[in-house]
Symmetry: D2
């Protein structure tokens, strides 16, 4: 099985871009693995906490590195990549933190008051359980839910910061980008140029403090190329649901764009009457408020497969 | 068991107000039932579809009637009502529709283009299953999930339209206001003055077309009075989660207000350190995007009881 | 000339409501004067600063009192009031302040950090000039611009807090509600039931700290009744411009609703082609970002009369 | 005087990027001129209307080209460019149009209804007057106000679409970027890498249909380098006002970010107490709602120089 390392020169970047040479080419249907950095380039440990690197170039030059570009043989503009997430292998430790002037309840970009202090909490991960040590001395345990935070294909013109979610994927921070699911991403340049990174061991809806339980990881993927497959926003398929992930501000626009694309999908691919699709989404649709902290917010709109 | 009818003169209103006489007084701990109208005062049937009443006074004078005020003995300003939803008895038919110039994907308040046409779809409800007849001739079946769309207490000064969600509850349209859960609402006037209506047999997240599967219902409640219980937004407790429902535009503000109140609840009542509460909500919090179509949007932020 | 005092029992209220008896009836075309309280019921002076009353019932029971209801003879539902602002007589002192947890740059409803401290600054007003004493010891002078912050008619069902701007006017905080201009407000109940208060000696666009240079005042008005005059949002006419003031969150929705109504006005009353009206607003329209601190934000969209 | 043409190979681009070679280097203090394309690469004329090219590659490959990069000798990261707009030479014709699915009142990205039809209107420009021919046969005249719609410096990592406004300038579409004013832009890469285009002969606040009276132009500039000059958002200085232009969605965030930066400017450079600066912006600040149609919205917050 092909294995793509992250540490080689030129294998990780702060933008998703078509301007660099691919670090690897994969065949449609081939299973391969990719190493990813955590949200700050793996620079944190007990001796180097967020409190130590906040405001330094060491931190600024390591924000959300993504491994890529990975070229998919035969993918041409107008196609889509169907990226099956075969596995996400977690390490034995993750980290969650608070940044000053960042996070959903900080809002201090607008605030004359003082921002919060930085904080760092390391969590052990063992056998699918995350252990969070609290300030009052307990350890709280909850199930790990492995997830890829950032995954996307290159745009034709822009080199886009990897912290931005957009119509080619990017930093969607959506819990449904997980083992067993398939993510559909548009192809704008020959080969698609996939990039990924920013894995999570656990994430709450909204990612409200701005950070999840963040981990480096080894991700196993298998990619198919769908010829001439058009979509306005990334799609996800699980065993039970079809989903659309849209990104916008304010958050209602992300939800509305996701539902609009989902309704179009129901009409075009599954033969629903448009008014029925609209009313049924209003009766049985589910939505995930994925994150409210990135440059645009992401919402996933979902429809149950058993009604298709 | 006390039974409060809806049809008596003065039992249903278009506002939630402290200015009217109570239609009934209940004791704390007493179980009682209340009849509620559907979202348009039960005026629709096969012979009177939305297409027939759209734009008429008959419709305008019947938007979202709520049954009340119900006075709770002993409730005084500064207290809270803990409203346990014992049962919601559904009828054998519900209705869902599309209004011109309304609904999440219409947005035609801003649009120079033509609005959508009105539409009405009646659904059978039997033994916990909703049957939706599609335009293409199938019947789609999905589970009923009984829910109270509008429930709230009176504000001291304002008489608030029942279509508005706000910090006293109102038109929250949140699927978690359901059988077995307890809703906490603030008391601003002696007796609290509870009003309710607008029950749903099923609702999708976002209520994206503006309407759920709408029903008249008979609701069974039991209310306790919590003395001197302060909260910024309505709270809900289920077997598994504690939740806060906030209302605002844009939608991210509803989510942020809900999480902020939830974090305060974790700190004040359960002894969490504030930064831990913030980070844990970012790691394991859940959110429901309840609706995106009312005068303000509602989001429920949730925390698992097993970590309390 | 009829003079309506504010201090009589029942002449000032915290809501705009059709449920109270009128305090006066005026004839169409009659000139009359009205006394108004300042934004906190005239309770502040050198001995009682915001720092002293913040968080007390004395403050909470005096937020934005409006004088009314004033009944206009002959106004019936479906009509509009054309309220000409003949004069606004300013006192010799105004006040501006900062509230904790309020104002455009505070945002602390969402913030875990500490809010700003309260502050009070009194400004002398003399011969049309406002004198602002700074912390560093200078006095800055700028022209007074007298303005009515809150003016509105009653809604049929709701009793609306006077701090809210909405489609009947209310707390628009728009600098164009000034001497010489005419404000058009809808009539929903017999007599219209006008209320006003919250005058300003000067206001910046956005009213960014939440407060203007606030004054009690004596306002002179003359009201005409326009029969069967429909509008979605309040309108203003100056010597040079026609304007629409809409209120919504987020702010772009207020601007879009205002422009939509303005375009409709250009088409219906002035005979413009709709696409021309749209393009001309995009080429020569002006907008005032009136305030960003009330429960909904207000924007005035404007079109030059010389192109009518 | 150096003259930079637009038509040479590699002189106009759809992104603002540090990845290309400069097309020219200018000295600080040197006056020079630059040719710019209009908003669609000058492809429209009587024989080629928007109705003809809508949805074609010819249009898609010509959206908002900017001339550049122009390298400024001596500009190093951490500096700012002070770009004085000496002149904007307008042609004798401009164009305004409506696009389907674009513009403030279309909102059809969310709409199930049909979008508006495309439209094109050519306007003569003569001696400072724009003549707009209406559908009903009149010609409306209004003053030309020459303006640069898009002007910005390169970011270190991203190659940003020229249609986006951001903290390096870009598609601000702000009427105050006009003759006689100076625009301050950050330097992130050696030489600054200035790009500009998208001039307007007239623009309304909000640019509500999405398009201004659009023109190719010849722009005359003189640039100074301010050493080690930090700012969060572009600044503008006119004879009467200092201004900050911020970009965000929703629109209130753009206004709040602009006012926050303006207050910081008043405190840091002009010695104001922070609370005074905040209150004075609330008393005398002006705001321009520049545009509500680009990927983020722009607002300029302004303070009068006579109070500095």
């Amino acid at each position: 099985m092909k294995h793509i390392t992250k540490a080689d020169d030129g294998h990780a970047h702060l933008t998703i871009s078509a301007d660099r040479e691919p670090i690897e080419t994969v065949e449609p249907g081939e299973t391969f693995s990719v190493e990813t950095y955590d949200y700050v380039g793996d620079i944190l440990d007990e001796g180097t906490r967020m409190e130590d690197v906040w405001g330094t170039d060491e931190l600024d030059d390591n924000i959300n590195p993504v491994t890529g570009p990975i070229r998919v043989e035969g993918a041409t503009p107008g196609d889509a990549l169907a990226v099956e997430i075969v596995d996400i292998d977690l390490p034995d430790r993750g980290v969650i933190n608070v940044f000053p002037n960042f996070g959903g309840l900080e809002a201090s970009v607008f605030n004359l008051a003082e921002p919060s202090a930085p904080n760092t909490t390391f969590c052990e991960i063992d056998d699918g359980v995350v252990s969070y040590p609290t300030e009052r001395g307990e350890v709280l345990e909850f199930p790990a839910h492995p997830q890829i935070g950032t995954i996307g294909t290159a745009e034709k013109h822009e080199s886009v910061y990897s912290v931005k979610p957009h119509d080619h994927g990017g930093n969607m921070d959506c819990k449904d980008v997980t083992i067993g699911n398939t993510v559909y991403l548009p192809v704008d340049v020959e080969g698609g140029y996939l990039h990924l990174g920013d894995c999570h061991a656990a994430q709450g809806d909204g990612e409200i403090c701005g950070i999840s339980v963040e981990v480096p990881a080894v991700v196993t993927l298998r990619i198919d190329v769908l010829e001439d497959y058009q979509m306005a926003w990334p799609r996800i398929e699980s065993d039970d649901e079809i989903m659309v992930v849209a990104a916008a501000r304010p958050a209602e626009n992300a939800a509305k764009l996701a539902y609009k694309e989902l309704i179009g999908w129901l009409v075009d691919e599954y033969g629903f009457d448009e008014t029925d699709a609209y009313q049924l989404c209003s009766a049985v649709g589910r939505a995930r408020l994925a994150q409210l902290v990135n440059p645009t917010y992401t919402v996933a709109a979902k429809f149950p497969k058993e009604l298709l």
